[in-house]
């Protein structure tokens, strides 16, 4: 039923448009011939009549009866005016083609447009809702601003104290660690220096002893050492023993 009403309304609309469009055609199809009241060659436009070139109308009026419009040319071709039925049929076909091919895209476009408008409305409502919520939140915050300031200040002070303690503790640990490392390094350096000094002293002592012995040793010393060598050899193990080495 609803579809029928909608179709009916659409049909009436199309008919009205076709009628309005066909009205000028009707005027076109009727050629006026009365020129007695016309005092000039200029064309005159009357309500319900089509604009016709004045000289054409004038020329045509010489051959016809004075005053009365010619009958509507409904169907005959080849006359001055085209057949009115053909023009109405032509117009109807044009409107029908427009309707047939333009119905779906136009409907789809209108539907898309409607959905877009709906989305925009929804988005605007959402933004409005959020703004209202924010406004409420800010209002609430503003009402508790002083309390929050006190709480925040207290929290910041506590955090600062903790941070201070942490920094001090880390610095103390780092200092202690550095002190231990430095002490260890100093100890190692001292040990190395002590060893180097000792080694150098031993080398010098041995070199000095070697020099003294080389210069001061006598033939008697050589003979004594050679005799001692013989005595030491006598203390060496028997040949069955596999040991080898010095006697010194």
């Amino acid at each position: 039923m609803r579809r029928f009403r909608r179709g009916f309304r659409r049909g009436v609309g199309v008919l009205l448009v076709a009628t309005a469009a066909a009205w000028p055609l009707l005027s076109w199809a009727i050629t006026p011939t009365d020129h007695s009241k016309e005092g000039s060659h200029a064309a005159e436009l009357r309500p319900g009549e089509a604009l016709v070139p004045a000289h054409a109308a004038e020329g045509a009026g010489h051959d016809e009866h004075g005053g009365a419009p010619e009958a509507i040319n409904w169907f005959s071709f080849g006359t001055k005016t085209p057949p009115y039925a053909a023009m109405v049929l032509n117009l109807g076909l044009l409107i029908g083609l427009y309707y047939y091919f333009g119905k779906k895209p136009i409907a789809q476009g209108l539907e898309n447009r409607r959905q877009g408008v709906v989305r925009e409305i929804e988005e605007a409502q959402r933004l409005k809702h959020e703004a209202e919520q924010r406004a409420k939140s800010y209002q609430a915050k503003l009402s508790h601003l002083q309390e929050e300031l006190v709480v925040t200040r207290h929290a910041l002070i506590e955090t600062g104290k903790g941070e201070k303690e942490r920094i001090v503790r880390e610095a103390e640990e780092k200092a202690a660690r550095m002190q231990r490392e430095v002490e260890f390094l100093v100890e190692q350096e001292l040990k190395q220096i002590r060893q180097d000094l000792w080694r150098e002293a031993v080398e010098l002592a041995v070199a000095s002893a070697e020099g003294v012995l080389t210069k001061g040793i006598t033939q008697a010393d050589h003979e004594r050492l050679a005799d001692e060598y013989l005595k030491d050899l006598a203390k060496q193990p028997s040949p069955a023993s596999p040991s080898a080495g010095g006697v010194s």
């Binding site: 000792w198 041995v206 012995l213 050492l225 060598y229 050899l233 028997s238 040949p239 010095g246």
Partner: protein, 181 residues
């Protein structure tokens, strides 16, 4: 093939020939003398080892050397063979192995005795007796002088060393005094 292995084979062959002809001591002495000369003369080594010197010249050098040292025919033939086979470089090793083989066959040990200054013959004799007593074998003492040992005596018998030098004592003292690393 290593020089040691080649020299040992030549030395073994020479020992057999020397024993057959009952000239082992003479042959040993002659080979040792030539080897000593060869080791002591750089020019001789270069001349005999250089590929630039032709073979006939090397044979002539060896023949002249043998003639001057008055070595026997066996030693001369040995030297010529070494030149022909290009093995003259092994001559010192051959002499060493021949001496060792001869000593071993006769139960003789060679003791290399090093002192800072020359000692008396009496001392070397007493040392020889002591070494023979220690080893139970006949010992031949080879005397060497090396002032680097400062004083004392160093005896080497084979791979055994009896070190009584002052230098070694100083070294031992130094090692004892040195701090551990």
């Amino acid at each position: 093939m290593s020089i040691s292995l080649v020299a040992r084979r030549y030395a073994a062959a020479l020992r057999e020939i020397g024993e057959e002809l009952r000239q082992l001591d003479t042959l040993n002495t002659e080979i040792s003398n030539v080897a000593e000369l060869y080791e002591g003369s750089a020019e001789l080594r270069i001349a005999l080892e250089s590929p630039l010197v032709d073979h006939a010249s090397k044979r002539a050098i060896v023949a002249t050397l043998a003639k001057r040292l008055a070595v026997g025919q066996i030693a001369q033939n040995t030297l010529a063979l070494l030149v022909d086979r290009r093995r003259i470089k092994t001559l010192p090793a051959i002499a060493k192995f021949l001496r060792e083989m001869t000593d071993k066959k006769r139960g003789v040990l060679r003791a290399e005795v090093t002192t800072a200054v020359p000692c008396s013959d009496d001392y070397y004799e007493r040392l020889k007796v002591q070494l023979e007593k220690m080893t139970g074998k006949t010992v031949v003492v080879e005397r060497q002088v090396d002032p680097q040992i400062i004083s004392g005596v160093v005896t080497r018998i084979g791979d055994r060393v009896f070190d009584g030098s002052v230098r070694t004592r100083l070294q031992t003292m130094r090692d004892m005094l040195m701090p551990s690393a």
